[in-house]
């Protein structure tokens, strides 16, 4: 199994209606149409999905690990942002 010149694609699968697409993995394919079909064969063969997105990996802008601290740490000590400071009224079940 040699490496190919085919570009890499990221695959997002919606497992059922009402849920959002979730990242499932990545694959190689020569173009978008075949990427979609490869994704069907690789990531939904056990009935995992009802909808697939494929996105060229090169089109994704990712946060850098070097920026981890300025990006994420300031949120760590702000517990008041979490919705945990009110009483749940009796009788409310599905909150």
């Amino acid at each position: 199994m040699t490496n190919t010149d085919w570009p890499l694609w990221e695959v997002f699968v919606r497992s059922r209606r009402g849920l959002s697409h979730t990242h499932a993995g990545s694959l190689h394919a020569p173009d978008a149409e075949l990427a979609l079909r490869n994704a069907r064969d690789l990531y939904t063969r056990r009935g995992e999905g009802v909808s697939i997105w494929v996105v060229p990996s090169a089109a994704i802008t990712a946060s850098s690990p070097d920026e981890k601290d300025p990006f994420f740490e300031p949120a760590a000590d702000k517990p008041y942002r979490h919705p945990t400071f009110y009483e749940i009224p009796e009788g409310v079940k599905h909150l």
Partner: protein, 239 residues
């Protein structure tokens, strides 16, 4: 009303699925890329599932698959043709899946004993056809090399395609209509792939076509030997 299973017809359709499934399975570990290996294996497994149902209608599926001699198989000669290069496999897929989709679509809308299987399988086969068409377009309208190979493959397998439309007893479909629809569909795909539609006879003295009568081509014996040797060496082996 009790339906009678037409054993000979079940055997012919079951053998088509079984033999092609085995041929596609031979790509495992050899396909050009990992993604395509899984795609071909998925198609092989769909076909194996169909074969199990069909052979079970004709008798004991294991005995039929593993203990019959070459001349007792009733599959089309097309499906037993060696994988060749990737283009040959795709051409074989294009010819066969187009035929199988038309056949199952008709069977699914009928009320024969094949209707339930056909209704389920026609969706699988629609995907097989799509897979073959997508690759035909890309190889045909691709590089000089891929175009040359795809063209050679379509030409080489053309003479095996007439056999598909020999009417099968017990399979009540419009064979002539199916032949016309098959030609239209395949020609359309080949044209869109900028390939020439092969010339040459599809029926008659110089064509292939006695698979349904139990006559097979040279490489089929080797394939069977590989497929059957485990069961013949260790009858009833399981894991």
């Amino acid at each position: 009303m009790t339906l009678t299973v037409n054993t000979a017809a079940a055997l012919a359709l079951g053998d088509d699925a079984l033999v092609l499934s085995h041929r596609l399975g031979e790509w495992a570990g050899h396909a050009p890329v990992l993604e395509e290996e899984v795609a071909l294996a998925n198609i092989a497994l769909d076909l194996l599932g169909q074969a199990r149902v069909l052979l079970s209608m004709a008798g004991d599926e294991d005995e039929l698959a593993y203990l019959r001699e070459e001349r007792a198989f009733r599959n089309l000669q097309l499906v037993e043709q060696p994988n060749g290069d990737f283009a040959h496999t795709i051409a074989r897929q294009l010819y066969f899946s187009t035929y199988q989709r038309l056949l199952y679509a008709q069977l699914a809308s009928g009320d024969s004993e094949f209707a339930p299987l056909a209704a389920k399988a026609v969706k699988e086969v629609a995907y097989h056809q799509d897979h073959a068409e997508q690759w035909t377009l890309r190889l045909g309208d691709g590089t000089d090399e891929s175009r040359e190979r795809m063209s050679r493959a379509c030409q080489a397998l053309w003479r095996f395609t007439g056999e598909m439309f020999q009417p099968l007893d017990g399979v009540d479909v419009d064979w002539d209509g199916m032949r016309a629809a098959w030609l239209e569909s395949v020609e359309d795909t080949l044209r869109r792939a900028t390939l020439t539609v092969p010339e040459g006879p599809r029926t008659g003295a110089w064509t292939a076509g006695a698979g349904r009568q139990g006559l097979h081509t040279e490489s089929f014996g080797r394939m069977l030997a590989e497929m059957q040797h485990l069961h013949r060496s260790h009858p009833g082996a399981s894991w």
